[in-house]
Assembly symmetry: C2
Homo-oligomer: 446 residues x 2
């Protein structure tokens, strides 16, 4: 931050005020606001921005400012920032970093963004097994005061001379141990580490299971490459849930905040699934084409059509979202499909019976009160009731099994969205409904 | 763990093996497996279990074992365990704790489970502002080696003699500072703290924004009551996302893993919404009751009915899930409703035009290929196209605005589930469709 752009005390803005207003400011106003922050607040504010916002802010700053701010970034965050930039602008951004950071960032960029390697920072504290506890503490103190800031000094990783990970020692352990003991005797060897290419969703689950501050990342030969810290994980967990929710709602994941996605991109991400579902749903018109005669003879069947197919869609949507989430949390795995199937048969029957009873009562009561269903109202009631029971059972089964099928075929189970399940159940449910009606009402209404 | 129940080396099971099998074991098998773990693995395994599983496991252990294991729990986790127990069994469980823990747990139980107070642990490291850095390090070392384990020694909170929070000092700060400086001069005073009754979802957002390891919790007079640590937050973030996903799918949140919810409870949590939606969807039958004549005269209108209402439901489901998630992440707030409305008008029009074009083409092509739509096929195509455009636009608007309405009325916006939006759009969409058809097709098909 240069003297020219730095505001005087009385014009200052607080970071919280700027955060509050951020989303409704345009690029120019954001930069103006950012320059009004005190240096400490500016630093905290900049580091808390998403990589996307950091990149947009950078674009509006002067080259001198840009250099100052990017140098605050840890290498994993610097790599994230670079990934926001179009390919052509990356070399210019890269040139802003100092030499060691540039090397680290280049290594990190080689990893897929969603892998453990793409999340990790290479700046971890390391000690040797043969050091004494006192030496280790001194050595950590030296590492902690180096120019390149470490992600955490609270966990030090014990590496042999091939950089292979032998164990971990927390600062707390060192602190409690006798100064003359060897690190080798104080370290924990039963540590959890992750391979470089582990998916970030799986890394997130490990963090949640083990309540860790940091996880070491090792290559296939056991050499330690970096650490993933808990602060990256909260973001990962949120991101993964957002992706799943967007998919469950029946669109592609937006991958950016709702209000910041460009309209063409938003329409594209929604149109694809909407059109696919529409083409699928066209099969309802095809199926119904075969029942035009029945509809003309008993229009009352068409009247109950939306009620019946929507009940199937709703029970399917419940079942699929419960199973998708249980899979994302590893509560349910592929091999549990038969247990889930049994549960959904039971739930589907129970739920179907409840709706069938309400539907049947509605027709009987409707008849008693208005008489509009004709002499065969009991038969009509039975048709509607039986259709509801079957469609709810079928919806629950289809909704619960589709995520398994998708995972088995190596697709994301979250693509078993509420609308997709509803579409499948609509088409099949209509055929079931009219088949049942043809069978039960032949000779009376039909 | 007594000698009697402890297995010999060769019978031992690893924690990972037990975790793997846990979900498919019954209570007795779980206890047997648990007793086969080595003491270290048993400890790690027990602490990683959910409060629910801990409670069930406890019930199957001997009283002596029970006492040993509960004493491993930090007070916040102990309070969670107690909340799993029926009211009548709590005093017996409480009696297992040592006196200081019992006092802490009693205090924590007074907070709502979803508040910052319900998440926090009272075991934080504290120092006085007038201490020197060297004194503070010594004092922390003493606190770290006490019997009651602190949640973290890496952040020490600076309190005055009224227990009011003045600042925070990280171990790293102390480590780098000169030994003779006063804590007062090293501490950070610009710290984020949260009130006791802040909702856990808001606490989770603060963690994500500020990349914190721990957040201090203060009462209304600024007195520090405890800390919330990052490991509780990953769980909170997952839990909140799970609740939202369950609601978006159209059921109540299960509040437990899918395979572990009792069947009656699962059916109850799904039946309520399913029945409400069913009652709402009955309005489609009521509405269609007014169009029986039209359906008898032009059964073709009924044939396209599912296609049209499902398109409205699908676009509504997309819009509502995108808005619900954006609200949960604070990307969209109540006052942003007009901006969201403008975006959805634009997206809804674009998406509606796409589907209208496909729908129109399908009818024209269907006519050219099979001739089944009669001489008025262009008029029918226009009716279907126009209905699709209106229903998709209407679905997008209704889906996007319903979460705002729910939040305004202080309900959970996530209750604007895909099925609820679909139901609303089904009823209104049908009326729109038949009104449009009556107007455009009068004198031809009708």
């Amino acid at each position: 931050m240069t003297e020219l752009t730095r505001a005087t005390e009385d014009q200052r803005l607080s970071g919280a005020e700027l955060s509050e207003a951020w989303r409704i400011l345009d690029a120019g106003e954001r930069v103006d606001g950012f320059r009004l922050l005190s240096p400490t607040e500016g630093e905290e504010f900049f580091l808390a921005l998403s990589a996307h916002d950091q990149f947009e802010l950078m674009a509006a700053l002067t080259p001198a400012e840009r250099k100052l701010w990017v140098r605050l970034l840890a290498p994993d965050d610097a790599a994230d920032l670079l990934q926001e930039a179009p390919e052509a602008e990356r070399p210019a951004l890269m040139a802003l970093f100092d030499e060691p950071t540039r090397r680290e960032v280049t290594t990190l960029l080689a990893y897929a963004e969603d892998d453990a390697g793409g999340l990790m920072s290479p700046r971890f504290a390391r000690v040797r097994p043969e050091m004494s506890v006192d030496e280790a503490i001194l050595y950590l103190r030296k590492q902690a005061s180096q120019k390149l800031e470490l992600e955490t000094i609270y966990y030090a990783y014990v590496l042999d001379n091939q950089q292979r990970l032998l164990g971990v020692v927390s600062f707390r352990d060192l602190f409690r141990a006798k100064g003359a003991s060897a690190v080798r005797d104080v370290m924990h060897t039963d540590l959890v580490s992750v391979p470089e290419n582990m998916d970030q969703e799986a890394v997130g689950r490990l963090f949640a299971q083990h309540d860790l501050v940091a996880l070491p990342v090792v290559d296939s030969e056991g050499r330690m490459k970096g650490i993933v810290t808990f602060d990256d994980i909260v973001d990962v967990v949120q991101e993964e849930a957002t992706e799943d929710i967007h998919k469950i709602g029946g669109s592609q994941a937006l991958d950016a905040p709702y209000l910041e996605v460009g309209l063409p991109s938003m329409v594209r991400k929604r149109a694809v699934w909407l059109a696919v579902l529409f083409l699928g749903e066209m099969l309802t018109a095809t199926a119904l084409g075969f029942y035009v005669d029945e509809i003309e003879r008993a229009a009352i069947l068409a009247v109950f059509m939306p009620l019946i197919i929507s009940s199937g869609g709703n029970s399917g949507s419940q079942a699929s979202t419960l199973v998708i989430r249980a899979m994302a949390l590893s509560e349910v795995r592929l091999r549990d499909w038969a247990r889930v199937l049994r549960r959904e048969i039971a739930s589907g029957l129970a739920l179907g019976l409840i709706l069938a009873a309400i539907g049947f009562l509605r027709i009987v009561l409707g008849h008693e009160l208005g008489g509009k269903y004709g002499e065969h109202f009991l038969l009509l009631g039975a048709t509607i009731g039986l259709s509801l029971l079957s469609v709810v059972l079928w919806g629950s089964l289809a909704g619960a099994m589709l995520p398994f099928l998708l995972r088995k075929l190596r697709f994301d189970p979250a693509s078993a969205s509420a609308p997709l399940v509803a579409t499948i159940v609509d088409v099949t449910g209509l055929i079931g409904y009219f088949s049942l009606a043809s069978w039960l009402l032949r000779g009376t209404l039909l």
